[in-house]
Symmetry: C2
Subunit: 344 residues, 2 copies
């Protein structure tokens, strides 16, 4: 998913696969192999020996063990070291894949491994659960969400954060302002100011009633391409500024991170809408003959597999929405003082 | 290369990687791992158990051992068996990657492994050396080339063959007809008639003075997409005919295989021309500081690495030439009686 999306947006990608599975894990069964830390490191050594490490951006995602996270971290740090004479020439986007919906899906020792490497990243993309894990704060309201982002900026010294998919409807009534449309997902982002304080923006997008696998990778890949574009469209000084941190006088909604986020979400919404249409059409004509011969357990499993396949993101036929998004979403600035009294 | 090219042409691809290398082998050094036959089989079992094997086309390429070739062959045969009630619903394109320029670059036991599976394939894509290896005939003239194709059709019962890149200029003078432009490469294809005889066509394209790695995979991936399109643009009966073999009254140049080949070569020529321009521009500004401190051997190695990187095929920025080729090449029918007397 991530490799193809970046390629479709014009990036030349060197993909270092950390797993080789038959299918995504949303099917609840798969076969294949995981790369060891040594294998990850070896591939990178191969790139180094042939002088193939002149990357502009690194996107790191799921790694199958703590040692693999450390191996990926070592690669990011080495690329940073090689680029340190040219600030802004290398940017590391780190998706700290650890779990979702209140549940870790990696082994426990992966958490401290991420905590050790995150302060080297330029942008991290935790979901709500991962932001809780990194900040140590339970996010139950807009104000605890703001606190978690502030804490992550401060603890890990990471300049850019986007918390992908926050479900505000699950927050307590008093903390959910009436400006939140129903059935919407909220994405919250922030770029630090020079004093370390967050510069928060939010984007609300309509939620789609379907579970898609790989949307985290899709978001990450799109943000890689769109953030770099937005930085290159901004003041020329920005692209040679360490970690592409905008000057303090740039408003939250004018941040390249905010401009990139609205574009990314517009692309994703259209592609996922098309996927949902195709899924529904596929399920309407699905061949369920023989299902009645199965046990209830087997029938439910068969149905889950069928639904998972039908919901595979339709990427290759919807490239135009990636390249030229047609939806228009807005970033809103989000100040502490805008929070409703009950959430403070 | 193959995965991305098929995706760019609108195919949903399930890629089963048979090697995981840091870079292509044209650099003359690389690190990484090869998939074992067991790992290849395991991934396929993963697809089977989740009902993810409804493929229209399978493209098989390089496999790193005889056992891996057999594992890939077993997958092709199983997919064929699953589709046998619906002729034409599954098509296997097999690139018998064994060597080039008179030299095997796989171990000796890979050759008999390919010889055992090729008679299950629908289309094979040998280069000149591989066609010699499969036919047991040395190709030194147009007539021996025709004999080799006839022998491959007959021996392996394979309905479609394309011999990618034949260098006619190396043939003996008398056998090279004056219709061959200088500095050109020739691609020869054939679809059998019902009596097993070849239906030969040729396409001459201008040769580019540069070695590009991955062009074999690029050709294979493009032909997968374009052949299926051409079959679906032909008489509706063809797509439900086993192996998409056109009726005997279809002329060689009207074969879907010939129509697909000219489109594929047009796309490739433009992309490689753009790559050569980009390569030249990159080499002009290459940073060679420090080269003078190297030993002669080290300097040559450094130069080879630099040239290899500069010649990486520029795919992601030249997608339009893949999707809508602008060049126009022609397929010519090629009958035995057209061969010059000296070559008979």
């Amino acid at each position: 998913m991530a490799t193809l999306v970046m390629q479709l947006l014009g990036c030349d990608v060197a993909a270092l696969n950390t797993v080789h599975f038959s299918n995504h894990t949303g099917y609840r069964q798969f076969k294949g192999t995981r790369a060891t830390a040594e294998q990850i490191t070896e591939i990178y050594e191969g790139l180094c020996q042939s002088h193939l490490t002149d990357f502009d951006v690194m996107l790191s995602g799921y790694a199958p063990s703590a040692a693999a996270v450390e191996a990926v971290g070592a690669i990011g740090m080495d690329l940073q070291r090689k680029a340190e004479k040219n600030p802004g020439s290398f940017f590391w986007v780190l998706d700290p894949v650890m779990g979702d919906q209140g549940r870790l899906y990696v082994s426990n020792d992966v958490v401290p491994a991420y905590k050790r490497i995150i302060h080297h990243a330029d942008l991290i993309l935790p979901n709500q659960f991962e932001a809780e894990t990194l900040s140590g704060l339970k996010i139950t309201s807009l104000s605890t969400l703001a606190e978690a982002i502030t804490a992550i900026h401060a603890t890990y010294n990471v300049p850019h954060i986007i918390i992908t998919s926050v479900d505000l409807s699950k927050f307590t009534q008093s903390s959910s302002p009436q400006t939140t449309p129903p059935d919407s997902l909220t994405v919250i982002g922030s770029t630090t100011r020079s004093d370390g304080s967050p510069r928060l923006f939010r984007v609300d997008v309509p939620a789609l009633d379907c579970y898609f696998s790989g949307t985290g990778d899709m978001f990450a890949a799109l943000i890689v391409a769109r953030l770099r574009e937005a930085v290159f469209a901004a003041d020329p000084q920005l692209r040679t500024t360490k970690s592409w941190v905008s000057p303090d006088d740039v408003e939250a909604t004018d941040l390249p991170l905010a401009r990139a986020t609205v574009q990314v979400l517009a692309s994703m919404h259209s592609v996922l809408e098309k996927t949902m249409e195709a899924r529904d059409a596929e399920l309407r004509v699905a061949d369920t003959r023989g299902d009645e011969l199965l046990s209830e357990e087997e029938r439910l499993k068969r149905e889950h597999l069928r639904k998972s396949k039908a919901a595979e993101v339709r990427l290759v036929r919807n490239v135009q929405y990636l390249r030229e998004p047609t939806m228009v979403f807005q970033a809103q600035e989000w100040r502490k003082e805008d929070l409703p009294a009950g959430s403070q």
